[in-house]
Amino acid sequence: MSKSVLSTVLLLCVFAMFGLPVAGLAGEVAEQSGADAMFWASNTWMLVATFLVFLMHLGFASLEAGMTRAKNTVNILFKNTAIISIGILTYALVGFNLMYPEEFTIGLFFGFGGFGIGELYDNVYIDDGIQAYTYWTDFIFQAMFAATAATIVSGAVAERIKLHSFLIVTTLYVAFVYPWLGSWQWGGGWLDDRGFYDFAGSTLVHSVGGWAALAGVILLGPRLGKYVNGSIKPIMGHNMPLATIGVFLLWLGWFGFNGGSVLSADPEMVSFVFVTTAIAASAGVMGAMILSWIIQKKPDLTMALNGALAGLVGITAGADVVSVTSAVIIGFIAGLIVVVSVIGLDRAKLDDPVGAISVHLICGIWGTLAVGIFSSEFSFATQLIGVVAYGVVAFAAALLIFGLVKATIGLRVSEAEELVGLDIGEHGMEAYSGFEIYTTQ
């Protein structure tokens, strides 16, 4: 690119010498150059957003590990390392072309653009005035998103699911279900057509992951010792610094998750999205902190952390279309919701160690509906249709996959393995070798 600029300059100099009227030309080339530079800036931003979303996987790994017991830590870390790898590879193989099929084959409901992605880097530039990045940037940014949906499940089913069963479920879900459902909206499918709006994926990513989490939790049942004689016995996470690191990294990554969903470096939009994202997360912390302080008498760190995530999931659907004040409200309410939901699910004996269902599913629904409430551009009814449509299909698909695996190779580890921990059971290894740890639970 740079070279062509240079040669144009030389060319212009030659023209100039001959006194030719090069005004239009010069202008055009120069504009070109300005637009190109904008493209460079946009593409750079999108790659920054990509690595931020990548980092969210470390965030999930840390959060999940921190919120569960030391004896299952290796298992959780292993799952998260495997998921991001499987996610990227399957997205390259089928996901990307299932999500962005170019042409739909069944209505605006299903399409598939063929296996694999391009091979060498001289591929098309994408620049339609809104999106501005290369084909490769497009792929890798989306690939980082894809694995997120699977990771959400991981936390909810932690401490009791067989490793290989989980990997099979995950692979199927991330390779087929997530991208197919994504195509309905981001791929230009029927929901996009109807005016449904989900900016960065409150529904498309978080609820879709959350529905699978719910299906898994139902089919697996609670961890041993969680609900005894009708009462709830909390099983405490083993490492709060790790959980906190996880949440801060997720928050950080969300600047890329939401900020990158602008699909260009458009200064106003990206910066505005930064503001709503940060504000909603902060308000989420406040909401969860205050409500947990009232209910539990003492403020619960894990609730405050979940509150941040709740605010983030909540703002994700409308980060670019709601006002700052709305962002405060959306985030704050999400923070309240997550506390109520965590406690409520526990009452319903749905055992979700990290609160994934509350954060991603419930707040994902809230965020999607909030777009219909706080932005006059979008209709609440349409948002609701989207939420329901995604809910029905995602949940059904997840139940099917989990169910099939349960019926065949089984989902749950043996009681003995659960007691001794999955680290020794599934991996023959301990996470904190040398540390003295109570394993009375």
Binding site: L419, I424, G428, E430, I437, T439, T440
Partner: protein, 114 residues
């Protein structure tokens, strides 16, 4: 006065506490321990090499009781800890010559608590 020391499976601790409580033994002390008995260990593997782990995680309980409570306490421990599987644990009993409550200076039967 006797000192009862029991090694049990960690996950049985709550049941043992519960059944001691039901036998009116309210005081006990608990420690982490590693134990090696009939129960065979397991194999860990790290970076391609095998490790035989035969020191398994156990919980060590200490209960000091007056003589008349010994049988009840032992039965309670057995009731709480027994699953019928190898590794259920073991109980050791020895004599105590004296017991003193630090706060009050009480000695003997009164001090021990049960």
């Amino acid at each position: 006065m006797k000192l009862i020391v029991a090694y049990i499976q960690p996950e049985r601790l709550n049941a043992v506490k519960q059944s001691l409580y039901e036998n009116e033994v309210y005081r006990l002390s608990v420690m982490n321990a590693l134990g090696c008995g009939q129960q065979k260990g397991y194999h860990e593997s790290y970076r391609g090499s095998d490790i035989e782990v035969n020191l398994l995680k156990k919980v060590r309980i200490e209960v000091a009781v007056n003589d008349e409570f010994v049988d009840g306490a032992v039965d309670a421990i057995i009731k709480g800890a027994r699953t019928g599987k190898i590794g259920d644990g073991k109980i050791f009993i020895s004599d105590l010559t004296e017991c003193i409550r630090i706060r009050t200076g009480e000695k003997g039967k009164d001090a021990i608590g049960s």
